[in-house]
């Protein structure tokens, strides 16, 4: 985390910084779209399986069993993978903001 004791004046100057807004917008874009996509995968697929269980099992035949288990296990993998991607991206965002503050301090 960036130091909490940084002064209020720096907050104000950070707000005036276009680069800061871009960093935050990019972060928000990522978290909002990824969350929506993830919720759709998590909520709609089981609904689809419940509604169209018969049709799906007819279409997929023996692969239906594989399909439902791959779906269940993929939820674990997706959760961990998204966590790892977010960890990398968020740490990079922290560094970008830190660099921005350092540049402002120097100037």
């Amino acid at each position: 985390m960036l130091e909490a004791k940084d002064s209020i004046s720096k907050e104000v100057s950070l707000l005036e910084e276009k680069a800061f807004h871009q960093i935050i917008q990019e972060k928000h874009r990522f978290i909002i779209w990824t969350t929506i996509g993830f919720l759709i995968i998590y909520l709609l697929l089981p609904l689809f399986i419940t509604y169209f269980q018969y049709e799906l099992s007819l279409i997929l035949g023996n692969f239906y069993l594989v399909f439902v288990w791959v779906y269940a296990f993929s939820l674990f993998l997706i959760t961990w993978l998204l966590g790892w991607i977010y960890w990398k991206r968020a740490n990079k965002t922290d560094d970008s903001i830190k660099n921005l503050i350092n540049r402002k301090k120097e100037s």
């Binding site: 928000h28 990824t34 969350t35 609904l47």
Partner: protein, 498 residues
């Protein structure tokens, strides 16, 4: 009472009391008492979150659900895990960077004033206390079955223990009880799993074959449709599970126990790994329970399925292994209820007493004294409520509380952090509507007067919580947008925070 069980039970009690004694020497200031001085590492806090989150309903209940319903039981468990994506992406960092000790602190950064703090505090206390009831009821019944102790005595024992940990050890004791629980839970589950695999000579096919043979579902055990037959109910339950975690006060306040935002991120990541691995192991335990214990015996001993893991332990390792698993279950119970009583305590003493009643003017000693008295009051209240609700439906109450958290605190936090046009009226409208909606749906639902057939209220109450907050904000005048801009700086940098 079985002596082996009693010895294991005693070891857990003595061990946790030693931790509390150690923690008591480190709980002399409010910063130490409420957030363990922010001294936990992300990994330690992740273990504590897992300990706070995985209840006996998960440890014993999910294995039973899988044993009885196969695939659908496992899908139910995934809901508890995937909620950590929402927590990590949208909630953990803002909570860490805005708050000091409570959720009231977090929301007060955007909406200062007593009304808002009081609304959040009441919501947090209600959710924590109401979530504690099913946990304590389940614990009382479990200890009654396992140790042969009377239900009332069992609830009093657990209630007194959780209160002692909080009163004397504050967040230090709460955290370390939860960390040790996680270690015990994971090692106990791994041990069971290893013995199970060795019994089938590491041949998974043999284990699955035994399951198909023993389960009345046969091959259908591995297919969907054995538990969730109504798409509306499944959708409602899944929505509550995936969004509910991000509104549970006892999980959210754990973000204050690490000293920076990277620590908060690492906490959630670590918790998601532990919880994920745990549920994967539970799948094998559920399959093993039906395969080794058999359907008839499982049903005959406990039709709810909660005893599946213990019966499996009995088949695999006899009395000694059952005693160990019982001890793990007991540690699981006390870690969760301690976290809940702590959340209610800190909210009452910090938000209601210190900020609203004393207007921020009370010495450290006085604040600590009130916090300890509040812990005793919250503990006592929970015990009395749990004694009076012995016959309540535990599984229903747990999913109901997830729906309540997802309909009230979750929308409040999301809109506070990410919506510029949001204001105080919208915040209070959203909280009130969320609570009224879940209450009405409960009263009208199958557990109440049975007017409507919807068992899980989330699908109606969660959108209502969000929409009423949005409408409340849109119909009233804007807050200063400058305040929101400042909040964004604090959320993303911590500047201006503690």
């Amino acid at each position: 009472m079985n002596l082996t069980y009693f010895i294991f039970f005693l070891v857990i009690v003595v061990g946790t009391l030693i931790i509390t004694h150690w923690a008591a020497g480190r709980s002399n200031t409010t910063h130490q008492f409420y957030v363990a001085s922010g001294s936990l590492t992300g990994f330690q806090n992740g273990m504590a979150i897992a300990g706070d989150y995985i209840s006996s309903a998960s440890f014993l209940g999910i294995a039973g659900l899988i044993a009885f319903h196969g695939y659908d039981g496992f899908i139910y468990a995934t809901g508890f895990l995937v909620s950590y994506v929402i927590l990590l992406f949208l909630i953990a960092e803002p909570v860490r960077n805005l708050g000091t000790y409570t959720l009231g602190d977090v929301v007060a950064q955007r909406f200062p004033g007593d009304e808002m703090r009081l609304a959040v505090a009441i919501s947090a206390i209600l959710i924590s206390l109401l979530y504690m009831i099913p946990q304590l009821v389940a614990s009382g019944l479990l200890i009654h079955i396992l140790l042969g102790v009377d239900y009332t005595v069992a609830v009093w024992i657990i209630g007194i223990l959780m209160t002692l940990y909080v009163v004397f050890g504050g967040m230090f004791a709460t955290s370390w009880v939860q960390i040790i629980k996680t270690v015990l839970l994971m090692s106990g589950t791994i041990l069971l799993l290893l013995i199970l695999f060795s019994r089938v000579n590491w041949d998974i096919g043999l284990l699955l074959g035994q399951t198909v043979e023993q389960s009345p579902l046969g091959q259908q055990f591995f297919f969907p449709g054995n538990l969730f037959d109504s798409p509306l109910e499944s959708m409602s339950l899944m929505l509550a599970l995936v969004l509910g975690t991000a509104g549970l006060p006892h999980i959210l306040i754990r973000m204050f126990t690490v000293n920076n935002v990277r620590g908060a991120r690492l906490s959630v990541l670590t918790a998601s790994w532990i919880i994920g691995v745990f549920y994967l192991m539970t799948l094998i335990l559920g399959i093993g329970a039906i395969g080794f214990v058999g359907w008839d015996r499982l049903i005959a001993i406990d039709p709810s399925g909660n005893m599946s893991s213990l019966l499996l332990a009995e088949v695999l390792g006899g009395d000694f292994l059952v005693a160990f698993v019982t001890a793990v279950a007991f540690a699981t119970i006390i870690a969760v209820v301690t976290g809940l009583v702590f959340a209610a305590t800190s909210t009452f003493s910090h938000d209601i007493y210190f900020h609203i009643f004393k207007k921020g003017k009370a010495g450290e000693g006085k604040q600590l004294r009130v916090a300890r008295i509040a812990a005793i009051a919250m503990g006592g209240l929970s015990i009395l409520l749990s004694l009076g609700m012995k016959d309540s439906n535990v599984a229903f109450l747990v999913s109901f509380m997830f729906a309540t958290a997802a309909s009230t605190i979750m929308p409040l936090l999301i809109l506070t952090f990410y919506w510029k046009r949001f204001n105080k009226v919208g915040a209070i409208t959203g909280l009130a509507t969320g609570f009224i909606a879940v209450l009405l749906l409960f009263l009208l639902g199958p557990e109440g007067y049975d007017v409507i057939s919807l068992y899980n209220p989330g699908i109606i109450s969660i959108p209502l919580g969000f929409f009423s907050a949005i409408i409340g904000a849109m119909c009233t005048k804007k807050d200063q947008s400058k305040q929101f801009e400042d909040l964004q700086v604090q959320i993303h940098t911590g500047i201006g925070g503690r």
